[in-house]
Structure formats: structure tokens, C-alpha cells
């Protein structure tokens, strides 16, 4: 084992990755990445829910605006969107600040990351949720209507729970994309996992060690997410006999 590590030039890896040193930085970067991924995914869900309802039941103007939003966001590469949204966003905030007689505003990296990735996630979530809502049998919603449920209660008590089983696989994908898209925020200088890794690697010249460690962290996130989403999907599918047969 030690021989193999030596062979790969990893002898000093353990030391390099110590928590008090660069390893700690990597973990802090991971924490930042996860924070942004959570926030962006959540914001994306909220945007997606409004977007999906707007696309399905909104007026002509609403539907057109949403069509432009989802088309543009999904057409433009994410990296470009991040640059646009980040610089446009900070520019607007600074202009507003200047107009109100303030100085330059320090943009909070986490908030900016959440806003930028959330807007991107929202476009995809709109489509995932729209498809899921459409897949809910109309009879379920009619039954709710026919018993006097108001529209918002129908959404909360019937449509959303019933669409979950259709939405969860798509949402799980979106979550994984969110965790990985945080890496793109490195271009605007945000200290997420990828940027921390690059800094550690170039300072120590131990590229292999640090990028391998970062890859491992991303993999762990994916594996844990998979386990969580498997449980969520099982819950969302409650009441539906297993596809593998053998009810219950």
C-alpha cells in the first residue's frame, strides 16, 4: 500500500490533506458548494412551481414570458449565463446603490451563487414540474374540485403530492446538476470546492492529490444524494404498487 502511494507520488498526500491545512480548505469549499447547491435547488423549485403553474394555467402574456425564460436559459451555456447573471446582477445592484447615494456594494458570494444558479435551475424545474403536473390524472383534481376544495388547497393537498412520484427522478437529476454547477462559479472567483482545489493544487504542485480528493468529495455527494432521493422517491410513490410486482 505504502509502495503504491510512493509510486504514484502520493506519499505526502495524507499530510497535504490534513484538516488543519489544505484539506480543511477543501472541506470549507465543499460546504460553500453545498450551501449554494441547496439554495439554488430550493430557489429553482420555487421558480419551477410558479413557472409550471404559469405555463399550464396562466394567461397568454404569462405563458409567453415563461416560454422565453425557459427557452433562453436552456439554450445558453451555463457558464455564459453565470457570467451574464453575475455581472449584470452586481451591476444593477451597484447602480441602484449609487442612485440612492450609496457606495459600491460588496456582493455576497453565496447569495450571488444561489441567485445565479437558482435562475438556471428554475428553468429546468419549470419543465420537470410542468410535465409532472400534467401526468396527474385529471380525475384526481376533478374529485377535489367536486368536493368544494379551493384552488390553492387542491394544489397543496392533491396536485403536488400526486405529481411528486413523476417529479422526483427529474428533480434528483437537477439536484446533482446543481451540485456540479457550483464548480462553474469558480470563474467569478467564488470559493467553492473547485476553486479551493485549484488554489491548493497550484500552491503545492500536488495537482493529482487535490483533484483526486475533490473528485472523491463530489462522488460522495452524489452517492449520499442518491440514497436520499431513493427514500424520497419511495415515499412519493406510496400507494402505487411496485413496478416489480408483488404488491406490498
Amino acid at each position: 500500500m505504502t509502495g503504491l502511494l510512493e509510486l504514484l507520488g502520493l506519499g505526502a498526500s495524507a499530510e497535504l490533506l490534513s484538516l488543519s491545512g489544505w484539506g480543511g480548505n477543501l472541506l470549507r469549499g465543499l460546504a460553500n458548494s453545498l450551501q449554494i447547491a441547496f439554495g439554488a435547488f430550493g430557489l429553482g423549485l420555487v421558480i419551477g412551481l410558479f413557472g409550471a403553474y404559469g405555463k399550464l394555467y396562466g394567461g397568454k402574456v404569462t405563458r409567453d414570458l415563461l416560454a422565453i425564460y425557459t427557452t433562453v436559459i436552456r439554450a445558453v451555456p451555463e457558464l455564459v449565463l453565470i457570467l451574464i447573471l453575475y455581472y449584470v446582477g452586481s451591476d444593477i445592484i451597484n447602480k441602484i446603490s449609487a442612485a440612492m447615494g450609496g457606495g459600491r456594494v460588496e456582493i455576497n458570494g453565496v447569495a450571488a451563487g444561489i441567485w445565479v444558479l437558482g435562475v438556471v435551475q428554475g428553468a429546468y424545474a419549470t419543465e420537470v414540474l410542468r410535465g409532472a403536473i400534467k401526468a396527474v390524472p385529471t380525475g384526481q383534481i376533478e374529485a377535489a374540485k367536486s368536493y368544494g376544495m379551493p384552488a390553492f388547497m387542491i394544489m397543496r393537498r392533491v396536485t403536488i403530492p400526486a405529481m411528486m412520484s413523476f417529479a422526483v427522478p427529474g428533480l434528483a437529476n437537477l439536484w446533482l446538476i446543481a451540485t456540479k454547477d457550483t464548480a462553474l462559479l469558480a470563474v467569478v472567483g467564488f470559493n467553492e470546492l473547485t476553486l479551493e482545489t485549484r488554489q491548493a493544487a497550484s500552491s503545492t504542485r500536488a495537482y493529482f492529490t487535490f483533484f483526486l480528493a475533490a473528485g472523491f468529495l463530489y462522488l460522495m455527494v452524489t452517492l449520499c444524494s442518491g440514497a436520499v432521493f431513493a427514500r424520497v422517491e419511495k415515499w412519493a410513490r406510496r400507494g402505487q404498487p411496485s413496478l416489480k410486482g408483488g404488491a406490498r
Binding site: G139, Q140, A143, G148, M149, M153, G239, Q240
Partner: protein, 265 residues
């Protein structure tokens, strides 16, 4: 004053309270006029059977009564309260519609139970969340109702694990849970395997016997004749013939009804 004598003294005038009245109901889907002026009155305790060929507008009529479809024109009065409609037939007051809907319990051909909820949850859903009945009370009542339709012990089961007949009986329990002033049945046994029809009809027969007001769209002519006190024959969006079951089934007047009855017999 003796009420029985009073009732007997005026056998012609219907003194029972009116449950559902439909006046000159029209409904078009685009250019297709599905209902061409239907008038119908059901009093409390009436069991009105609605029969007619496929596409004659039976479902549409039932669905217009609780505004699952928006009528094109006409008047709908539920329990003496007229539903406020705009000139295009859409409900003018959504709150009124929602309130009225809680009194009209619908039973669908496809059951339409909420599949992500257990039978118990299905039955208590509307009482607890719409009618704001305390949960414990709603649960106790739901147990009673599920027992009554022969589903005691199935409270925790999800609909997909039950037969069609069981699902439809659960749907009837859900309908009863709102303590409806009238029930609307849209071909409640048409989606069932023949051997499961009987168990559902038994439940409905029971409800008719206890004086529930019901509008019942059905293809079960024998059953309609047995439980209904009034039969309406719909043909291409109009009421072609109506009357007591003995008349409608025993002595049909129009050729269309004669033909229809011989085709379903």
C-alpha cells in the same frame, strides 16, 4: 294539525323541499351543442335515474350541476339557492360554488380516489380540510362509513391495492362523509367487472332506501327501475321522456325510448 293528513290531502302539489332544480340548461363544446335545454327537478328523497345512449349528454348534465363543466346558459338552483352565473354561464362567485359543491357529493365512473392517500385519509380529507370538522370526529365517522360499505379493516390500505368494487364503495364512503344534501352518481358501476357490480349496487340501494336524494346516471335498467322514483330519458341533449319507472320502462311512449330499451335489454 296532523301532518300525515295534510300530506295526504294534497297528493298533487309536491310539498317536499326541493333539492336540485335545473332550468333550460344549455351546454356547448365549441360548435357541438351537447345539452339543448334541459329542465329537471329533484326533491329531497328523490332518486332520479338518468338513462340514455352514449353521448346523449348524461355526464355533461351531471357535471354542469356542480359546475365541473361551465353551462352555456340556464339556471341551476341547489337547495333553494340559485347559483349566480355570469352571462357566459361561468360561476360569478367562486366561494358560492365551493360551498354548494360540499353539499353535492359526486361519485365518478372511475372512482377518482386520491391514490396517494389511504382509504381513511380519502374519507376524512374533505371533512377535515374543507368542512373543518375536528380530526378525531372525522376519523370516527370515517371508520363508521367504511364499515358500512363493507370496508372495515381496510382503513390503512391505498386505493391501488383494492378491487374496483372496493374502490367504488370507498368513493361512496368519501361522498357520505361530507353529509351531502344530494349525491350525484355518474355510471358508478360501468368501469367494474360484472361480478363486482352487485356489491356497489347493494350499497346504493341502501342509500336510496334511507331516503338519500340522488341523481343516478346508469346503464343498469333493472336497478334503475327498482330504486328510482323518477326516470329521465335523455336523447341528444334533450329530455325525450320522463316519469315514474313503471311508466317509462313499462309503457314507453316515444319510439326512441322503445328502441333504446330494447337495445339495452
Amino acid at each position: 294539525m296532523d301532518t300525515a293528513a295534510a300530506a295526504a290531502s294534497a297528493p298533487e302539489a309536491d310539498t317536499r323541499r326541493e333539492a336540485i332544480r335545473v332550468e333550460d340548461l344549455h351546454k356547448s363544446f365549441g360548435n357541438l351543442e351537447v345539452l339543448k335545454g334541459v329542465d329537471l327537478t329533484a326533491h329531497q328523497g328523490d332518486v332520479v335515474a338518468i338513462i340514455g345512449g352514449s353521448g346523449s349528454g348524461k355526464s355533461t348534465m351531471l357535471r354542469c350541476i356542480n359546475f365541473l363543466e361551465t353551462p352555456s346558459s340556464g339556471k341551476i338552483v341547489i337547495g333553494g339557492e340559485e347559483v349566480a352565473m355570469r352571462s357566459d354561464g361561468s360561476p360569478a362567485n367562486q366561494k358560492q360554488i365551493e360551498r354548494i359543491r360540499t353539499k353535492l357529493a359526486m361519485v365518478f365512473q372511475q372512482f377518482n380516489l386520491w391514490t396517494h392517500r389511504t382509504l381513511l385519509e380519502n374519507v376524512i380529507e374533505v371533512p377535515v380540510h374543507v368542512l373543518k370538522v375536528p380530526k378525531a370526529e372525522a376519523v370516527a365517522r370515517a371508520h363508521e362509513l367504511l364499515n358500512r360499505v363493507g370496508l372495515g379493516g381496510k382503513e390503512g390500505t391505498y386505493p391501488a391495492y383494492l378491487s374496483g368494487g372496493q374502490q367504488q364503495r370507498a368513493a361512496i364512503a368519501r361522498a357520505l362523509a361530507v353529509d351531502p344534501s344530494a349525491m350525484l352518481f355518474d355510471e358508478p358501476t360501468s368501469a367494474l367487472d360484472p361480478e363486482l357490480v352487485g356489491e356497489v349496487l347493494t350499497v346504493i340501494r341502501d342509500l336510496a332506501a334511507e331516503g338519500r336524494t340522488m341523481l343516478l346516471v346508469t346503464h343498469e335498467m333493472k336497478f334503475a327501475r327498482e330504486v328510482a322514483n323518477h326516470v329521465v330519458y335523455l336523447y341528444q341533449g334533450r329530455i325525450e321522456e320522463q316519469g315514474p319507472p313503471a311508466e317509462v320502462f313499462g309503457n314507453p311512449q316515444s319510439d326512441r325510448l322503445k328502441q333504446f330499451l330494447s337495445s339495452v335489454a
